[in-house]
């Protein structure tokens, strides 16, 4: 399963970023291999459409689950159309690693 989590820094121990489209980085995590990589959000400073651009990143990286604090309507529609599951962090103060653990423990709620 490929997860994408919005993150403040390019590191798995970084705090999560609550804003999906405006997140500085995305951490891509493969639950089968436990391998992770950081993806820079190149659209973070764009005025409009950052949510769609971020959704496009998730689609291009073949994410199956995207975890963030909130999703705007455009990002929501794009991710939904792509069949990607959206989930929210337990707390905005968690790290990316905590969030992955929470996901594995089935503690996260779907965003609808």
């Amino acid at each position: 399963m490929i997860l994408i989590i919005s993150s403040q820094n390019a590191d798995i121990n970084s705090p999560v970023d609550p804003r999906f489209g405006r997140s500085q980085f995305f951490i891509k995590y493969d639950t089968n291999t436990n391998h992770w990589e950081a993806i820079k959000n190149s659209s973070v400073n764009q005025r409009g459409g950052a949510g769609i651009a971020a959704a496009q990143i998730a689609v291009n990286h073949k994410a199956e689950v995207v975890i963030s604090g909130d999703f705007g309507p455009n990002a929501f529609n794009a991710l939904k159309a792509a069949g990607i599951t959206m989930m929210t962090f337990l707390q905005d103060t968690s790290t990316v690693q905590d969030t992955i653990d929470h996901y594995k423990q089935g503690k996260l709620n779907p965003f609808e």
Binding site: G48, G49, I52, Q56, V59, A78
Partner: protein, 294 residues
């Protein structure tokens, strides 16, 4: 005056509520009937010039932009359109292209770059343009944005193109507040920018942003200090250091505030303003001519 034969003065301010519209409408009223004035309210998200100039709307035109429609039969899902859309109005999801019309600025890039001519452009209404004669024979036009997404730039562009400008006429453009793209669009092609600011630290911060835009666009400008007497001297000092002229000062007064609230202009408060604005106008003309010869 550059290419066209009319003198175009844009009235702008870094922030809202500085009295920009009061200045723009007072200027327009003081120049008639000697000058042939066209007033364009470019603050399409919250137009209010009509409250002061009271035009009788006689002409109306829909403002539209062209947004893409994709022919799925012809689409190769190559992703080229998504890549070229700088507004992120398109996304490639699985085997299809999703369009987000609220984000589309109608720039036409996607259709232009599509290798298989799969993109047809269809009209999407974004607002309406209205025009008519206002007080003292001022020709008036404004645009009203009717969609929720901020799509002000295209409608301002259409508004500026809509009304004929006659030789020797004066165009006064009331810009939206702020320092966004829509302000840049209003300023584009202007011969002079009149900036209205309050003498407060906030006023200064916002004024600096607009002054930066002017510099970049190479448009000469001057400042009107409104509500003079409140705040401090930071704006004065800054303008002096940067050799930007203060062209007029409007004192803080409750009389002016209540006149504006009642839809009146400065000319209703005191006839002296008529003369002041005429003097201001000749200074502007002089500055524009100097700017063109050098």
């Amino acid at each position: 005056m550059k290419n066209s034969k009319a003198l175009c003065i844009a009235v702008a301010s870094g922030k809202g509520g500085t009295g920009k519209t009061t200045v723009a409408t007072s200027l327009a009223l003081s120049l008639t009937p000697q000058e042939n004035v066209l007033f364009l309210d470019c603050d399409v998200e919250a137009p209010n010039g009509h409250l002061f100039l009271r035009p009788r709307i006689e002409a109306e035109k829909k403002a539209v932009i062209l947004i893409p429609r994709i022919d799925v039969e012809k689409c190769l899902t190559c992703g080229k359109c998504v890549e070229v859309c700088q507004f992120h109005a398109l996304a490639e999801i699985g085997k299809s292209i999703m369009i987000f019309p609220q984000l589309c600025h109608g720039c036409g890039s996607c259709a232009w770059h599509c290798p298989s001519k799969a993109i047809k452009e269809i009209k999407n209404p974004i607002g309406v343009l209205e025009a008519g004669l206002a007080l003292k024979g001022i020709r008036f036009a404004h645009g009203i944005l009717t969609i929720s997404e901020p799509m002000a730039t295209p409608i301002i562009r259409q508004l500026k193109k809509w009304q004929k400008t006659e030789t020797g006429s004066v165009i006064i453009q009331d810009a939206p507040p702020g320092a966004s793209c829509s302000v840049v669009e209003t300023l584009r092609g202007a011969d002079f920018a009149l900036l209205v600011s309050e003498p407060t630290p906030f006023g200064l911060h916002d004024l600096k942003q607009v002054l930066d835009i002017l510099k970049e666009m190479n448009i000469p400008g001057g400042v009107i200090i409104n509500r003079d007497g409140i705040g401090d001297f930071q704006v004065d000092q800054f303008l002096k250091q940067n050799h930007i002229p203060i062209m007029m000062r409007i004192p803080y007064s409750t009389e002016i505030a209540s006149a504006v609230a009642a839809g009146k202009t400065l000319l209703d408060v005191s006839s002296n303003y008529g003369l002041e604005f005429k003097t201001l106008f000749s200074q502007i003309k002089k500055r524009v001519m100097e700017n063109e010869t050098c």
